[in-house]
Every structure is written in structure tokens, then in C-alpha cells.
């Protein structure tokens, strides 16, 4: 099922949930809505589900405008963060509930529920009640209940955030696998950018009710179109510093009071043409501690992450986060030289926060 959202606005009184959102989702696509809490992603999802009515704009499933269609007539399945399993029903009754409401005959209900339960690996839990199940099992039941009515669209509202880290990893794979196999158009709301990056075909990044970007994961990472996207996607987050980019003798220089960095033309020409200071962004993995480095700074904090160390280096009044090999055993207070990979640097307009390199 193809989903077309056109100029969607949803307000609660004076509070804007989401504003002027336009988004087209292809049939069978897995799209993630990514953003901090309160960014409007869940509002959009619930509007798609029919729980909220759009204030303005249109939502189409295929060719059909579904703005006023009741949730029960939209043929959607939804998995909630809290799972929302009915505590007074057994697992079987929970999964069968959508079928019962569709007035599917008892035999067929029985068969379909068992089939779904087996796919989800909860076939032996059907007589239990939700309270007796672990979080992971409840999650599978919720997924089973969403799938049993063979929905046209699957909606996920942060389904993995109540699970522990290990279980989250396995469920992530399972959901993606299932979605690809069944080919159901899916929308997945999350604030965890790792989840979004690993699972989605395309990611819609939202902030304060506005769509920031809608692209494939790699695009978002390598060519962020706004400063928000650059900062939100990637962990640890990108370093930002205000610089002046100037051109002298065919070379481009980005500099602040304490840093001076040379740039290539493909990254430097656009910011150099910009009047005044720009925001430079550089990812932690693009900064190396290297004796040959051209910038000197002092280590402020070392945070061991296990595989590598997260190091906060202060250069003058600026602070840079970078990742370093644990074997080097850096200490706080140590003076080091840094090498910046300027071919990966991003530049943003400080006022509009739009990228100077990539046009929208």
C-alpha cells in the first residue's frame, strides 16, 4: 500500500503537533520516523492510524483519502511501546481479538491465530495471560496481534524501547526480516537513531513538528542537509565549531582564534563564498590523534567505552569529541596533536542551519 501524506498539519488547540508535512511512502517500503521526543513523530503516526484527525492536509492510502475513515476501517496493524496487550484476555484472545471484530468464523480464527503465533515463536504461550510473559514475549504477542489481520500498513510506535539491550538487537533483526518477507508497508517511530539507521529503507528526521530530511540512511549520514540532522544522526554526535572560511592563493582555510585548517576545493568553495562565520561540523571518527597533527590541544576527559576511548580534547575555548584506540592509554591533562580529515567536514549556515554543501 502506497501512502501519501500531503501538507499534513495537526494542532491540539494552539499547540502544534506537526506542521505542513509532505511525505510519500512507496508500497512495501520500511520508513522510520526519527526525532527527539516531542518532535511530532508519534502524532503523525497516530494521525495515520486514525486516532487523531488531521487539522489540515490529506492522507491517502493508495488512491483513497482516509482523513475521516475510522481506525477500524483502515486495515492497519499497530505495535505500541507499552505493547497495550489486554490484561484480562489470554494471549490467544488477544491475538484473535481483531479477527473476532472482523467476524471471522471461529475455525478460521483458531487457525490464523495459531499460524501467526508459530511464526512469532509464541505457539506454546497461547493460554497464558500477558502479565505472565516476559517483555520480549509480550512484544511478539503485540506484533502477532498486529499481523493477524493481514494489514495493509504496519505502524510501530517505539516498540523496542522497553526491552533490554540484548533483546532489542535480536528483535530488530526479526522485525526487519519479517517486514521484508511480508512486504507490508511499515512506518517505524523511534528516537534511537541506531534503530532507524539499521532497519529503515528511508528515514524521515523530524524536529519540532517539521520534517528535516527524508532520505536513505547513508545519505543522511554522509550528506546531512541541516545542522539538526547532522547533529542527531550519528553517535557520538558530530562536533560543531564556528569558523571563518577564506580563500587565499587557491587554497581554502577554515580558522578560528586557535585553529587553522586547510580545506580542499570541493568542501571549501561553498562556505568560502558565504558572508561571515559558518558552522563547521566534523564527526568524531574524522579526527585522529597523530603526532604529525597540525592542531595542538589538551585532553580534558577520557571515557573508556570498551572497544575505544571517547576523548574530549580542549583546544583554546573549543571542545572536540573524538574516538581513540584504547591501547594508547591517553590520560587527562596530556597534550596531544590532532589531525582533522577535512574532506569529510560539513558546513552550515549559522542562521538558517541549512547545509552549504548539499541543496535540498
Amino acid at each position: 500500500m502506497e501512502i501519501r501524506i500531503d501538507n499534513l498539519t495537526k494542532k491540539f488547540g494552539d499547540v502544534v503537533g506537526v506542521e505542513d508535512l509532505t511525505l510519500h511512502i512507496d508500497d512495501g517500503e520500511f520508513v522510520a520516523f526519527l526525532g527527539p521526543s516531542g518532535c511530532g513523530k508519534t502524532t503523525t503516526l497516530l494521525t495515520l492510524a486514525g486516532i487523531y484527525k488531521p487539522t489540515e492536509g490529506f492522507i491517502r492510502f493508495g488512491d483513497r483519502v482516509i482523513n475521516t475513515v475510522q481506525p477500524k476501517d483502515r486495515n492497519i496493524g499497530m505495535v505500541f511501546q507499552s505493547y497495550a496487550l489486554y490484561p484480562h484476555m489470554t494471549i490467544f484472545q488477544n491475538i484473535a481479538y481483531p479477527l473476532k471484530l472482523k467476524k471471522v468464523p471461529k475455525n478460521a480464527q483458531n487457525e490464523q491465530v495459531r499460524q501467526v503465533a508459530n511464526v512469532m515463536g509464541i505457539g506454546d504461550l497461547l493460554d497464558r495471560r500477558p502479565g505472565q510473559l516476559s517483555g520480549g514475549q509480550q512484544q511478539r504477542v503485540a506484533l502477532g496481534r498486529a499481523l493477524v489481520k493481514e494489514p495493509d500498513v504496519l505502524l510501530f510506535d517505539e516498540p523496542l524501547s522497553n526491552l533490554d539491550a540484548r533483546l532489542r538487537l535480536t528483535m530488530r533483526g526479526e522485525i526487519k526480516h519479517l517486514q521484508k518477507n511480508l512486504g507490508i508497508t511499515s512506518i517505524y517511530v523511534t528516537h534511537d537513531q541506531v534503530e532507524a539507521m539499521t532497519m529503515a529503507d528511508r528515514i524521515a528526521v523530524m524536529n519540532r513538528g517539521h520534517l528535516q530530511a527524508f532520505d536513505a540512511p547513508d545519505e543522511l549520514y554522509d550528506r546531512p542537509k541541516t545542522r539538526f540532522v547532522a547533529g542527531f544522526v550519528g553517535n557520538p554526535p558530530m562536533n560543531f565549531v564556528d569558523v571563518e572560511v577564506s580563500r587565499s592563493n587557491g587554497r581554502f582555510i577554515a580558522e578560528t582564534d586557535s585553529i587553522r585548517l586547510a580545506l580542499g576545493a570541493e568542501r571549501g568553495s561553498a562556505p568560502a563564498g558565504h558572508d561571515g562565520a559558518v558552522v563547521m561540523g566534523i564527526r568524531p571518527e574524522d579526527i585522529q590523534i597523530d603526532a604529525d597533527g597540525d592542531v595542538r590541544g589538551e585532553i580534558f576527559v577520557v571515557e573508556p567505552l570498551g572497544r575505544e576511548d571517547l576523548i574530549d580534547v580542549r583546544i583554546g575555548s573549543h571542545s572536540f569529541i573524538l574516538l581513540a584506540d584504547t591501547e594508547r592509554q591517553h590520560q587527562a591533562g596530556e597534550r596531544v596533536s590532532l589531525k582533522f580529515d577535512m574532506s569529510q567536514a560539513q558546513f552550515f549556515d549559522p542562521r538558517t542551519e541549512r547545509s552549504l554543501l548539499w541543496k535540498q
Partner: protein
Amino acid sequence: MTARASLFDAGKLKVDESPSSLAQDLLNALRLGLIGILVMLVAAFFFSGVVGPLFALGNVEETVMDVLTRLALLALPFIAYIAAASVARPYTYTDTARALGLALTTTLILFAAISAGHYVFNYGVFAPRPSLQMTLSQTDAGLRVDAIVAGGAADIAEIQVGDVITAIRRDSVDLTAFNRRLSQSEADAPLRLRFTRGAEELQETARVVLVSDKQLSVLLPGLALGLVFTAIIVFLPGHWAPYIALVGLLSPLMVGYFWVIVATFSYRTEGLVPLDSSDNIGGFTLKNWESIFAGNISGLEFNIWPILMTTLTIALVMTFVVLLVSSMAGYALSRMHFPGRRFFLSFTLILHGFPAITLLIPIFFVLLRLGELPVIGELFGFNSIGGIALVMVAFQLPLGVWLMKGFFDNIPWDMERSALIDGASRFRTYWEILLPQIRPGLLALGIFAFIGGWNAYIIPATYSIGSGVSNLPVFLNELIDETAPVDWNQVAAVGLFQLIPIFIFFIFAQEYLLNIYAGGTKGSS
């Protein structure tokens, strides 16, 4: 202590390191005891001299302040002993003898002081009491006069030593009855005594006089009580005190309920003591219960079953309707979006605070008019069970709606959304998904409504005439009002019969009861 650096040198705490002497402790204890006495005296004066006269200005004929004054004066010595004992208590861990000695000495002195006060002001044991100024002893023949005060009341009535008193007027008396009669007499009241002198039958009228015989020996029981009391206070483990206080405060209630239970199983009771038909202690009987089902109490004939049915109908209809109506309204207020929602919510809250009972008069007219309608009138008009139940439902609605709304509010929104997406209508969501999840709330409100309906008195009594629609409480009150003399033990049996479901709820659902009788106001406080 002195060596330690202090944060505030100027205000350094001075610690008296020498142990206090016995004399100091004694003075301390006496001082506290006297403060206790003073406080109670002030309280007594406040009740009798300030509050009492103030209300007398408004022409309120009350004796509450007299009773409070008496209570304050009665408690006075005990408060003094407790205050004194608090000085001795710390020594109980180290020096038992010292603690006891200190406490008893103080008590002795305080007792002497209080007694002196009583002596001077003719109060307490020195208060004048009705007397005939003679001493009597019980013999088989009657009350023998052992001694008389010369010139006293008995002497004036020409009673002599050796006379045997048999009756006051026509009532034959033993010593207890004689003393009771005497103690209830006022000053100068005439008592006509029948007595035998030798073989002669005589009668003379003696006039009661109020006499204060200031014999110091009557103080001895009081002193003993005081000493024992202080000793107990000194050695009482501190954590027992709240329990003792709680039991003390509750005791009138517990005694009352205990009486109902005892009374229903005995012929008659004097105080809490069950007596059989020949006035001996004991006498277990089921006759009170039998008479309920036989349908005859003190000559009033009735059939218990229709009364029971009426009571049960009112209670059950109420429970059912209250649950249904308030859960529906509560659901809409909690979960639905519609114009006027805020108005309805605030209106519910106002009704919740509004005393519906003040509308008793106009509702009478509403029921009269309802009774004139066809069909509805039969069911819900004046003098119908339905009408009574409906009024009571309406009175409980504000609380019910508010409570139900609160319970619905606590169910996660995702539950509702999930059901809607699964394909349920709003009504189905309410009925199949949400109602089962607020079962504790339904149970609490249900119990509340049932108890309200089962106990209802004023509404059934006001809106019904004749016994056709009277319920157990109305019937019970009729029994008390219309039978004379009232057979209290049979009445008690009906009362206990009415209490049975209440006791059952009390035993099994205390937690619900405690929660709901705060009126669903927990959230607001």
C-alpha cells in the same frame, strides 16, 4: 565534648555534666505535675466559664460543656501523674528503685495537693450527696438500721436503731436498690419508708439531706489508684501508649457492637451481662431470631420476607444502575472529546461537593409528578421501590462518575488506541476492553452503592407510605417506635440481622471501604 570544634562558637551548647540530684528531680517532677493540674483547670474553666455561657446567650440548652468540664476535672490528677512520671521514666533503664521512688513520692505529694483542693471546695469524694444519715446492713428480714446520726434525717423521721426497713413506698428493697433510690433523690425529697419494729409494721417519711461527710479515709482508694497508675506509667513501654490510646478511644463503639451480638442471643441484658429468664447470668437462646422469622415481635405482626426482598431490591438495583450509569458517564468524561466536556466535568465536581439531602422536599414533588405518568409512574413514582432506588442512585452519581473517571484516567491510552485499531467501536472498547480493567473500581463503587442501598433509611421512610415498600431499616425503626414496651433483645436481633451483609463486607473489603469513604477525594488533597 568541650574539645570538639564548634561551627558556632558564640552559641556553644552548655551541657550540664553533673548528674542531677534527687531533690532537683523531685522539684522538676512536681513542677511538671502542677503545670498539668493548671492546664486542666484552665480547660475546665474554658468549657464551663467561657464556651458554655457563650452558647447560653444563643439560648442553646446544652450540657456538653458541663460534661467536658467534669471530664477535665476527672482527668486532672491523671494528667498530673503522667507529667510527673515523665521525669522518672528515663531512670527505668538504669536505676529502677530511683525511678519508682521518685514517681511514687511525687504522686503522693500531688495527690495530697489535689485532695486538699477537693476538701476546700467540697468537690469529688467530698461533694455533698443525698443521705438519710443512718447506716444499714442487709439481713434476711430486710435492712437493719445499725446506727443513726443524732438530729439527722433519720432521727427526725423517728427511726430507731434496730428497725428493719422492708420497702420504700410499696417497692420492697434490698441494700442496692435502697442506695440507688437514695442516690437518685434530690435534696429534701420525701422517702416513705416501711419498716418493722419488733412485730410492729410502721411507716415514716424521711426527707433526704445533702451531706458531705469529710472523712479522710474515703481518700484511700483514690490514693491507691494514683500510686498504681503512676507505677504503670513509669514502666509502660513507650510503644504501647498509642495502642492503649487507640483501644481506649474505640472502646465505646466496640462495647456497643458487642452488646448487639450478646443481646440477640439472650433473654435480656443488664449492661453487657446476658441474663436468662430467672435473672441468672447466661441463658443462651435463639428465641429472638425465631421471632423474626415467625413474624411477631412484641405483638407487632409482620412478614420478614417481603421486607427483606424490598431491601435487597433497592440495594441491588442501586448497585447495578449506579455502576452502569456512572461508568458510562465516567468513560465519556475521561476518554471522549465533545463540546461541553469541561462544563460537564466541573459540574460533576460541583455536584460532588453539593449536599443532595437538602433537596428532599422538592424531590417529593418530582416523584409525585413522575407517579402521574403512565407506566413510568408505576415503576418510579412516589411510594414505589423504583422511585426510591432512583433517588438514591441520583444522590450517589456525582461520586460515582468522579470515581469512575479517575479509574478510566489511569488506563494507558495505548490500550484504547489498540482496541480502536483492532477494529472495535467506542462502545465495544468501553465494554470489552476498559470495563474489565477497572474491576477494582467497579467493585469499590459497587460495595459502596450496595451498602448505601441496604442501609437506606431517610429516603425510603420519606418517600413511602405503609409497609408495602418499607425496607429493613424503616421496619426496624417502626419496631422501636410502635411497640411498647420495646423488647430490646428482639429489636437487637433485627438490627444484627440487618448488619450481617455489612459485617461481611467489612471483613472482606476493608481496603475498598477505607478508600472509598474518603469520597473519592484522595486526588484532591
